[in-house]
Amino acid sequence: MTRKMMTGNEAIARGAYEYGVRLGAGYPGTPSTEILENFARYPGIYAEWAPNEKVALEVAIGAAMAGARALVTMKHVGVNVAADPLLTLAYTGVNGGLVLVAADDPGMHSSQNEQDTRHYARLAKVPVLEPSDSQEAKDMVGLALEISERFDIPVILRTTTRVAHSQSFVQVGQRQEVPLRPYQKDVQKWLMVPAFGRLRRQALEQRLSALREYAESAPVNKIFPGEGKIGVITSGISFQYVRELLPGASILKLGLTYPLPEQLIKKFAAGVDRLLVVEEQEPFLEDHLKQWGIPCAGKAIFPAMGEFSTALLRRCLQQAGILPAAAAEGAPDLSDMPAAPVRPPVLCAGCPHRGVFYLLNKMKLLVTGDIGCYTLGGLPPLSGIDSCVCMGASIGMAHGIGQVAPELGRRTVAVIGDSTFMHSGLTGLLNVVYNRGSSVVLILDNSTTAMTGHQDHPATGRTLLGQEAPAVDMVALVRALGVPHVVTVDPLDLKAMQQALEEALAADGPAVIIARRPCVLLRKLPPNPVAVDEDKCTGCKTCLKLSCPALSVVDKKCRVDSIACVGCNLCVQVCKFAALQAAQRGETNA
């Protein structure tokens, strides 16, 4: 065995490999993405990106039904998408073990909301395991598979951003080949018509009560004895903070947080003077304890919102009088510190999405947006998007606007990325066609899933395992859905783009514009920086409205950072004084 530093995500991939998982499926989403990317590199396994989380889970269910160990990965909001099959999967159960990794993002480092996946575990009535470092992340994949097979139920492995993306040592072992469990036709188990569903509903209750019993002695529910004055019940990353802040406390660390070991918790609670529940996000453990009549303090002391940290918990413990108030330690006075301007993420220099938002803003359209790099086009100074709810929402929302306010609808455009269109845009567009809407949809096709780190999808022509694949013909696909007006334009050609938008808005019925140009990070262009003619530059700053990281105006003259600039020439088109010039080269940027 060798010791290796691994992120939680690398460790989960390693665990899946070592514990004989044959199939991994998922849809990218921070902080879960690297699990499948790492898993895909191991020999003798099969891995795929599905177009969305629901499909990914359904694929894994098939693999488990056929008797293989299967893994499915997603971020917390992906569980919403996969919830439909998940809740019935709890009824059918599995054959080979099935683990669903859900990565929560407290503090919303890169998500549109916070949600606590443990609520889904309870809703679906499936067990949930929570690792607190990379070693546990690896080990718990094995345990989850074991529980899944032993109790005939899918298991959720819930991580959080901090566990997924932090590194600690992991003991690396060998792969253990797990033979396929034979498949036997059993319609009462797998065919959920109401009569069989009712039987499986009862079976689920029995499996859950067996799991409750198992939880009482599960080795992942572990007591770290202390002095007994303060007792803490905790799980996940919070355990690490508690260990550091309260070295003398007795700790009950719950690795299995649903279903909970009621007897163990009651016994632990009885042995301490004062009981704290330290859990990130929702009062999930606390609610259970209160329901059992166990006096404890949780959210009265620690917040239910945002991410925990040692500093935050230290302040909470000080306020509650559990830790002494901080003595001033001669820290430097920083009260006169100059304001540090924020460094927000921006669309890259040369990003093909940039010009689109410049135009949408200039044309004063209502823009329903979606999730991807291009969501950044909603921030000033581009300010080209009005909304962003969840993946795939843009098209449905534009249709809704058009149905109740036709005038507004005629000035509304939905924007959606290519990966997002494959994920859940198709059905929205089909709905527009079917219900006689006339929405204009702009598909921003940069030939990748850029936001999460350039994953492939059904329109890129490549799979997660690096094989070539048939790339869906987007134009034909959109036509096949029944859209009469479909055009493709280069989003770096502002004039063509504006014309396409005007025609689409004037068209009768639904219209789709495919703005196609690969992500600038995919195709490294030869540097071809724009040149400034300082005699012509008036310092008007119009070019700065593009929010391009390569452009600035210093001493009333535009300046182009020749290292950052890739020569997309958008600024050349925006400049009214012809002060910006595409550098003369033999080739163009096409």
Binding site: T161, H165, Q167, S168, T310, A311, M337, P338, R343, V553
Partner: protein
């Protein structure tokens, strides 16, 4: 062996902070430390601030260093050094690259880049070392090695043998860039204020 050492590496996406953290972790791992490291990626890939927390010790629990309790900040850019200054403990050390990278709101004229950041920091943190890492890296033959110049400056202050660092460099950088990086490391290790 140190009981505990908390280091924050801060910079701008694309500056090589992650590689620098890897070199540090490899050297410390070879010396037998328990280590935890934490970084947040995602939106940061699009030119935003990046920060890596590295904690060494005999046994480490939390993967994150704490505000006001960090031993050393290694800052790859001036403004980022300022932004994280409150993480330093009283008596802590700042190693600050003098490099400046303007955030987009500054480029767009919507915000001002503070003046004389090194002076402000040095006035409050007696143990501040300001390094022109970019220039030093250029002299070694590659501006991209500025991150390793800073690693060298950090190495000179830690009780880890120099050979461990050089071995860690060999494990992390591609062979064709090793020579430049070893030179950059030495430049940082032997850096003297002129």
């Amino acid at each position: 062996m140190l009981e505990k050492l908390d280091i924050l590496l801060v910079g701008v996406g694309g500056q090589g902070t992650i590689l620098a953290s890897k070199i540090l972790v490899n050297a410390a791992a070879a010396a037998g430390y328990d280590i935890k490291m934490s970084e947040i990626h995602g939106m940061a890939q699009r030119g935003g601030s990046v920060v890596t927390h590295v904690r060494l010790g005999s046994a480490v629990s939390s993967p994150m260093v704490e505000e006001g309790r960090t031993d050393i900040i290694l800052a790859f850019e001036q403004l980022e050094g300022l932004r994280w200054l409150n993480y330093l403990k009283p008596g802590g050390s700042m190693i600050l690259s003098s490099q400046v990278i303007y955030p987009v709101p500054v480029l767009a004229g919507l915000a001002a880049y503070p003046e004389n950041i090194p002076g402000y920091i040095a006035a409050r943190v007696p143990d501040t070392l300001v390094i022109d890492a970019l220039q030093a890296a250029l002299q070694c033959g590659n501006a991209k090695a500025a991150n390793v110049v800073l690693v060298g400056a950090l190495a000179a202050r830690l009780p880890l043998e120099r050979a461990l660092w050089e071995q860690a460099l060999k494990e992390t950088v591609p062979p064709r860039l090793l020579e430049v990086n070893l030179a950059a490391f030495a430049a940082g290790y032997e850096y003297r204020k002129s």
